[in-house]
Assembly symmetry: C2
Homo-oligomer: 448 residues x 2
């Protein structure tokens, strides 16, 4: 059998799968500042209508525009790979497959949503997309997508990352985006903060506030978000839809599916198309893997909370550690979100999804094993899924179960080599579950 299972370009899915159609209960609505449900109109200042329609749609299949499929074909379909060398090193009876999303030009799954978001904005006459970025995975994906459709892209990058992590900033600039170290003088939020603290190093909360302020105040500009929201998870279902086709080509079907889970778009992207099968009689276990230092699903509370640290966004019902909980500075920056997607949260609450938490050092052990067997050096986020798969494969070695395991390799680690350096030097830390900080943050939540 080949290691890599390829699909031709015409097999890029023609439709996204919308899990809302198969949920046992309707999604919980977002709430406004008054605690009352808000409608789609509240989003129209910062999102195009087609995106808002997708955000609230209950249609099972939503057509992917040909112009989007054509751009996705720059790197899609992505390979599904049988991890023969990893299996051999583990001595496991399991078959391990991974969907390699690291092959996109930006190096992760993020462009799967950046491209349709740029497309719909372009179609509705928007000239500029605005977003925030921490380490730069999302910002670089939006820069790539904006360039493809001739849109200006402005990225507010947390100042400390802007200065300490220049490589992804340079990637964004290579694709023609404007990148600003946030806080900036371009927004009122930024000016207020700089007036108080000219040396502010910024935060993701500040960067979001700057991006939203500028998008809301400019009729030709819109905001774009890289995870959490329903439409982002929708766009990412190309991952799972392709993986199902590829597994079918070799006569396989997974017993368990794993993905790293921060805001939920990568996990939802691979898991939801399999959840559809569970709705019609299959029984595949879908496992979100998160860091023990930011254990949203495994230790959080299922309640209404803000999406951002500053409490500017609508509230959604989700597993949360409290919006002002500040997770430890682990290297998997994409998994440091205090909450989770409303869809993932609700489905997890209803027992249709599982979650596991893995400690930082264990994830790097697994990532190095993967690099030394399969060749590819994974992103720290991806190492979470790998660690959970390795644990399962070793468990099966004990019990003799020959399961088929599937996971998303969400990105490569080319811009994370400093994290590997710290791992090799023994400088990485495992963090205790920050129980008190989480309790304190949850206690500060508004009650309705």
């Amino acid at each position: 059998m080949d290691k890599k299972i390829w699909l031709p370009e015409h097999e890029i899915p023609t439709h996204w799968y919308n899990v809302v159609a198969d949920m046992p209960n309707a999604p919980t609505p977002p709430l406004g500042p008054d605690g009352q449900p808000i409608g789609p109109d509240a989003l129209s200042a910062i999102f195009p209508n087609s995106i808002i329609e997708q955000e609230v749609s209950a249609e099972r299949w939503i057509k992917i525009p040909d112009e989007v499929r054509e751009k996705l074909a720059t790197w899609r379909p992505t390979p599904l790979v049988r991890a023969f060398a990893l299996e051999k090193a583990l001595g496991t009876p399991c078959k391990i497959f991974y969907k390699n999303e690291s092959v996109s030009p930006a190096g992760s799954h993020k462009p799967n949503s950046a491209i349709p978001q740029a497309y719909y904005n372009k179609m509705e006459g928007v000239k500029r997309l605005i977003t925030e970025t921490g380490a730069g995975q999302w910002g670089s994906s939006l820069a790539l997508a904006g360039q493809m459709y001739g849109l200006d892209v402005r990225v507010f990058m947390v100042k400390v990352s802007y200065n300490q992590k220049p490589y992804r900033r340079l990637m964004m600039q290579t694709w023609g985006a404007e990148v600003h170290a946030s806080p900036t003088n371009l927004t009122q939020v930024g000016r207020d903060i700089l007036a108080k603290d000219p040396d502010s190093q910024g935060s993701l909360g500040i960067a979001i506030s700057e991006a939203v302020e500028e998008a809301a105040g400019n009729p030709e500009a819109n905001y774009a978000l890289g995870s959490v929201l329903n439409h982002v998870l929708l766009h990412q279902t190309v991952i799972g839809l392709e993986a199902k086709k590829q597994l079918a080509m070799v006569g396989e079907y997974p017993d368990m599916v794993f993905a790293p889970c921060g805001g939920g778009s990568n996990f939802g992207g691979i898991a939801f198309p399999f959840l559809a099968d569970n709705a019609t009689g299959k029984n595949v276990r879908l496992v979100a893997v998160e860091p023990t230092s930011c254990p949203t699903l495994t230790k959080g509370e299922y309640t209404y909370d803000f999406g951002d640290a500053s409490g500017l966004t609508p509230m959604t019902k989700m597993y949360t550690l409290g919006h002002d909980f500040m997770p430890p500075g682990i290297h998997a920056g994409g998994l440091r979100y205090h909450g989770d997607s409303a869809l993932v949260s609700q489905l997890y609450h209803e027992g249709l999804l599982e979650a596991r938490a893995v400690s930082q050092i264990r994830t790097f052990e697994a990532g190095v094993l993967f690099a030394r067997t399969e060749g590819i050096i994974p992103a720290p986020e991806s190492n979470h899924a790998i660690a959970a798969v390795v644990d399962e494969a070793l468990r099966c070695k004990e019990t003799g179960e020959a399961k088929t395991l599937l996971f998303t390799l969400s990105g490569h680690g080319h811009f994370d080599m400093v994290s590997y350096d710290r791992y090799f030097k023994g400088e990485l830390e495992d963090y205790d579950y920050p129980e008190e900080a989480i309790k304190a943050s949850l206690a500060r939540l508004p009650k309705f």
Copy 2:
């Protein structure tokens, strides 16, 4: 038509193509310190027998061991891509195809030879491979290959690169290689240099000397070289062999083939299989692209010279700027070699290959255009081929010629973002053709 033309894994070539079989004249022999031809035995202290046999073989087709094809399948066959977006941006009547060698785990074409070299050494009982590396493309490829076959890999990395370019060093360490900042205390050469200058920042010449000394003095260790030699070019012919099949699948054949040319392995890898067609009646133009700052083929002399800066290696007849010519510090580190492969040099001398030189800033202009159209951020070396292709496509736009152009995208630029930063800041330099330095270096060559 699809953008990407895929081959299944069983289409990985079963044999390498040896251009020696189709050369109008036998290759010139290497010479020893006395100016007399040396035989294969002189290499046996540092290379395994199977490699030495390949180095001197005149067989047209040399079988690729199944165990090598299986490891190459980690990423091969690589995609052949039709650069529709670049064509559109240029408004050219040409069809542009690129063979994307950046998809290997190490990010370049270099593992195509690192894997067979590691394999043959393993088969002959060698325990450790030793090499030198500048920026780290070759060192990381050998680290990957050594890991695959369970060989120890020791890399002497020029100290200034070791300190200034930690990312590729970390990549090597992730794949389990030992990386030492050269000069080291591990060799006599290193100790002598450190005794004179404890702060020596090293050079590629010193690193080669250290690697060769250690390999020659240890019966369980061998040396491995990443370009220049006949067997390395042989291993790289998988690039051109696959590209021919892929073009045939869409009914195309190139009018011109371009590749960056430093030591010659990437250029030979794509060009030689097409040169075989020219021997049987085709007429494809094969263009090596080099930097104007290190214009080996376009401005060098065709004469016997040493392969290394210190004059320790045998001499080969090649286009050279003089072995102690120090090229300006351009960002395409892989193209800073003073000479060229003996095979490429001889075929160029006989008029069967062409060469063009491009200045540094022009290569980055072309690379940024490529990133903004095709998505992938190319390595600075690859930008040379892109610049030559863009120039040709624009020339054809003037004349109305609808040529089919093929080039190798030899690597991605993920570890070269600092070079792009300097380009965007206007800090990159174009260097004048260093005529006096080259003349002086050539004048110092030994005469026989």
